[in-house]
Symmetry: C2
Subunit: 198 residues, 2 copies
């Protein structure tokens, strides 16, 4: 990397820090960016700054959004009595893409992981419990079927059971170890249909 | 992509426009960026803007650099009588990494490609010819061994031959450590043609 000048090297270094971007890919991207029309490079730079500055968590469901309350939580058509709990906004987007779920969501912004030192207090769990004070009939737990996702599902289920609210888990039509955002819509729907009470 | 809000969608769209970045990768990168510490996201955004604003072509060899004249062209130790012609700055960096080449470079910023409508006037060819007015003993053509690279090599060779300056082409053949059975026939034949006495 010593053979690139300061600004090129800085750009390569910054790009290398992104997940899944190795040094060769970072080089290729850096030179692509330098050769872009000026307004396109500016648009990319601005998009990064503006997303970082303007995107926040929805004050109701905690998904990432531009607004104080996200479009789904604002939507009068959605059934507020059913809450699907997901780990992150990409998983929410994956279920939205199926077009069939009409309830609302709760985005944990993570999962419990003793290994990584992420405890129940590090995810949006007390925010979920607070929402249950409203008129909620079912909580569908759609955390990933990874170790962390299952741990989180168990924890939430134990927490909610005493309230008498129905708690369900999406079926394991989702392959074990699979990440929701990479799974096809048919499998996602089958998993939704096959949900069982915990 | 409709399930992401304005700034997230804009960032995903901008990242998707990069080479080799599909929509899933763009999503993953976008959420990674949004979850980065603010100063890291700013550093990435700034690196893109500053590289685009400050990186230009060296006025001698036309590699991409921060300065009017690049560090290699400024280096008094380099042998200015030998010029290696490469397609782009990454190819220059690849040869610099070997640590053994002590001549200077000329970066074409492309290769002749009739298919893509890139002619001799679209690359830094007249800039190369102008450099030959100085005290040059050898021009080493190190364009890629692709159709475009070979076409460019032939064109340059024909252009320089009449000046009496020695023109050479880097050898093409079986890569070191390469397993013969996995190498294409054209490369195998070229390696045969280029065999040297031991």
């Amino acid at each position: 990397m010593d053979h690139f000048s300061g600004h090129i090297k800085e750009l390569i270094d910054q790009l290398s820090a992104l997940p899944g971007v190795g040094s060769k890919t970072a080089q290729r991207l850096a030179f692509h960016i330098i050769n872009m029309p000026a307004e396109k490079a500016k648009a990319l730079s601005d998009a990064i700054r503006e997303a970082k500055e303007n995107v926040r968590e929805c004050s109701v469901c905690h998904t990432l959004t531009d607004d104080d309350i996200c479009p789904i939580c604002r939507d009068e058509e959605r059934d507020r009595s059913v809450i699907m709990v997901v780990e992150n906004s990409r998983d929410l987007a994956a279920y939205e893409k199926t077009g069939r779920y009409k309830g609302v969501y709760h985005v944990l912004q993570g999962a419990i992981s003793p290994l990584l030192g992420i405890g129940p207090e590090d995810i949006r769990l007390k925010e979920l419990i607070r929402r249950l004070e409203g008129d909620v009939s079912e909580v569908i737990i759609a955390t990933n079927s990874s170790l962390e996702g299952e741990t989180t599902a168990m924890y939430i289920s134990k927490l909610i059971k005493p309230t008498g609210i129905k708690v369900t888990r999406i079926a394991s039509g989702v392959p074990v170890g699979g990440d929701l955002e990479y799974i096809d819509e048919v499998t996602l729907l089958r998993a939704l249909d096959g949900r069982t009470e915990l």
